[in-house]
């Protein structure tokens, strides 16, 4: 049976288990004189049976689906005569792919070597067997679970607690899954980066001030050795983020203060969602707005004042990015400001403070941890933003602090490194992972810093 059908079947079995368990508990309850003589409510007995029926079999299903392909592959490849198995990893994978395609029927068997056709046949056979075995085991497990869940229904059985425990573990499992995924991503980036640092020294990368990631495709090509100094990229990132925060923090914060403290209810009901719509505009739209409207406008404006502003400038990208980030700051700040208890404001007003004094001296300080957290989130967002910069800030890796020039950022370079034809293990491609790792580290440090600040003010203000 197909795995998806099997999954649905087991859901159905689970539902049956629920009704059977519940029904049995009701049957037990009625001679005793009602549901209140059971330890738990009938639904809990039902749920308990459902969990017994569905959890083990689903777990097995998932595990099987993850493991069956590698197992079958290794059986098939292991059965090949040793002299036919390629020695390099790449060739080995190629062969495996071909066999697998043959087995799927995607590739025609005409003209393929006989050993491959044979391997493909055995692979297809194994797959069918595996699917049947899986179906059988799952159904058996589910039935046993159902029976077990049904058996355990008894007036004094603590179904409620048992469900509680399972729920707790399920939640834990989900939390772990999220964490492991993150850890997995970090490690994969880390390993690729280590490979990159084999060909480019770590310090040249972190402190080098020249970025021109050309590598030779042919050995005899000119300019065959690129240079991978990441400093210009990080300076570019910093520059654009700084411009963006320069726009977003004051505007975001002040609009939040207006919304939370001064606006009437009717203004607020419309203005707040309207601001949040800004967050929903796709960044690519911001990007062409920056490239086609803001950048030329700035260039012409600069020309009127005798300034040369390049048509792709950090300023244009930063300004638009700032606008994009405003809703992050305003929305979060608005929430924390509204969350400051009215008692604080009353206390201040009753001392004879004006509204604006109250806002400045009591409300904002009380909301500060939340505001800082919001700003840090916005900075992380600015650092990670790619689209606007690709379109509006250019690709030139210049080491400059002048926002009127064109710069490039870490994320933009990652994109350019990975798009286009490249060997996967060339330093040029691997550099993307190293950049990603560094970016991740910087954002992580920022977040830790933010948490620290928040905690510090918490201690002071609560």
């Amino acid at each position: 049976m197909e795995s998806s059908n099997l999954f649905l079947l087991m859901l159905a079995l689970g539902a049956c288990a629920f009704y059977i368990g519940r029904g049995r508990s009701l049957a037990i309850a009625s001679p005793l004189g009602g549901v209140r003589h059971l330890h738990s409510l009938p639904n809990y007995y039902g749920l308990n049976a459902l969990l017994w029926c569905a959890l083990p079999s689903m777990g097995l299903l998932i595990l099987w689906l993850v493991l069956d392909e590698p197992v079958i592959n290794s059986i098939v490849m292991g059965a090949l005569p040793a002299e036919l198995v390629p020695s390099t990893k790449a060739d080995f994978n190629l062969l495996l792919n071909k066999i697998s395609n043959l087995a799927d029927g995607i590739m025609s068997a005409d003209g393929q070597p006989a050993f491959m056709v044979a391997a493909a046949e055995s692979m297809a056979g194994l797959r069918v067997i595996s699917q049947w075995v899986l179906t059988a085991i799952c159904l058996i497990l589910a039935t046993i679970g159902l029976y077990w869940g049904w058996r355990r229904v008894a007036a004094e059985y603590r179904a409620r607690q048992s469900v509680e425990r399972v729920m707790e573990n399920l939640l834990l499992a989900c939390a772990c899954l999220a964490i492991f995924t993150t850890v997995g991503i970090v490690f994969s980036v880390l390993f690729e980066s280590i490979q990159f640092f084999r060909s480019v020294p770590f310090f040249d990368f972190v402190f080098g001030s020249d970025w021109s990631p050309q590598t030779a495709i042919r050995e005899d090509q000119v300019g065959s050795s690129g240079s991978f100094g990441a400093v210009p990229l990080f300076v570019g990132t910093l520059l654009i983020s700084a411009v963006a925060m320069f726009v977003a923090v004051p505007i975001g914060l002040m609009s939040a203060i207006y919304l939370a403290e001064y606006s009437s209810k009717s203004v607020r009901t419309y203005a707040k969602p309207a601001l949040e719509v800004l967050a929903g505009v796709p960044t690519v739209v911001y990007g062409f707005f920056a490239a086609l409207t803001v950048a030329p406008f700035l260039r012409d404006l600069g020309a009127d004042f005798g300034l040369t502003i390049s048509s792709e400038s950090a300023l244009a990208a930063g300004l638009v990015m700032g606008v994009m980030i405003i809703p992050f700051i305003s929305s979060l700040a608005d929430d924390v400001i509204t969350a400051v208890p009215q008692a604080m404001r009353d206390g201040s007003l009753a001392m004879g403070a004006t509204h604006s004094e109250t806002v400045r001296k009591v409300v904002i300080p009380a909301a500060l941890p939340g505001i800082v957290a919001g700003i840090m989130l916005a900075i992380s967002r600015a650092i990670g933003e790619t689209m606007i910069v690709v379109m509006a800030a250019g690709l030139a890796a210049k080491l400059t602090a002048n926002p009127l020039e064109s710069v490039t950022t870490v994320t933009v370079q990652i994109v350019t490194l990975l798009t286009g034809d490249q060997e996967f293990d060339s330093p040029k491609t691997l550099a993307a992972f190293a950049l990603g790792l560094m970016l991740f580290t910087v954002t992580l440090l920022l977040n830790i810093f933010a948490l620290h600040i928040v905690k510090k003010y918490r201690e002071q203000y609560e």
Partner: protein, 288 residues
């Protein structure tokens, strides 16, 4: 205390001397001694509305200088509403409208161009739940003097802070930790901090809205002592849900019922021989 008793007495006297009562509208429902000579605050025909809903009906009463007046009544009868109309804290409530006159030293606080900021500096307020600012103890007290420019130098400010904390009976407990957060104090200490904070701007009247309802009995006793001491320098209006507390701290007691002021009389009289049957019903616990 003595002084305050005298004030209460003068209130009693006005009753026996009808001449001074001439301009008073006798059709009012309120019984007892509502008025006195040279009142610190006097309310005339105060009506308070929340939108269309009326919360206070035609309340007229005087508060003598250095008097402690307690306001009691079942919850929801409008005690807080009335108290908050005495320093215009109701202005901050959307849709709240106050009619009638509230005179502070003979001047109507609801007149058009009155400076609310100055008014609230003269009529301070302590709230039901202690609400220290999330700042240090020192900054909590210094807040008012700073915004009103009461201190010319750091030394001045230090003096004001120390003086206020001493008057609030908190100095000894916190003098070592002035720069730690005020929110780290116990509930009772926090409430005394709030009282100190109110005192720091040298108000003339202090309004207290159930200042002890969130506190344990020992902290409550301390605040009650404090109220007695404070009455030497300040005029105090206190809302309380505890009749024992009203009996202990106040000179006169006002009984509110469904937004109306039913009876105002010297505290002893209210608790021993209430004039109005509603008051009697309340203090004997028939409702509340």
């Amino acid at each position: 205390m003595k002084q305050a008793k005298a004030a209460a007495k003068s209130a009693t006297d006005t009753k026996s001397n009808p001449k001074q009562n001439l301009e008073v509208d006798t059709t009012q429902a309120t019984v007892g001694n509502r008025f006195c000579e040279n009142p610190k605050m006097s309310m005339r025909d105060v009506n308070v509305f929340y939108g269309d809903k009326q919360a206070i009906y035609d309340v007229s009463v005087d508060i003598a200088k250095n008097e402690v007046i307690a306001m009691i009544g079942p919850s929801g009868c409008g005690k807080s509403t009335f108290l908050r109309s005495l320093n215009r804290m109701n202005d901050t409530v959307d849709g709240c409208k106050v009619e009638g006159e509230v005179l502070l030293d003979g001047h109507n606080i609801y007149q058009q161009n009155l400076d609310v900021v100055e008014l609230r500096a003269r009529v301070g307020m302590v709230f039901q739940k202690p609400n220290p600012f999330p700042k240090s103890i020192f900054e909590n007290i210094a807040y008012g003097p700073k915004i009103h420019g009461l201190a010319d130098s750091r030394v001045d400010l230090d003096e004001i802070v120390e003086g206020s904390l001493k008057k609030a009976g908190l100095w000894e407990e916190v003098k070592e930790r002035l720069h730690q957060p005020g929110t780290g104090l116990s509930g009772g200490q926090q409430q005394r901090l709030c009282i100190a904070r109110a005192i720091a701007v040298s108000p003339e009247v202090i309004l207290m809205d159930e200042p002890c309802s969130a506190l344990d009995p020992i902290a409550t006793a301390r605040i009650e002592e404090l109220i007695e001491e404070l009455s030497q320098n300040f005029t105090i209006a206190i809302v309380t849900h505890s009749m024992q507390q009203a009996a202990r701290v106040s000179h006169r007691t006002a009984y509110f019922h469904l937004g109306k002021l039913i009876e105002v009389n010297p505290t002893e009289q209210v608790f021993t021989m209430p004039e109005h049957q509603l008051t009697e019903a309340y203090i004997t616990g028939r409702f509340g």
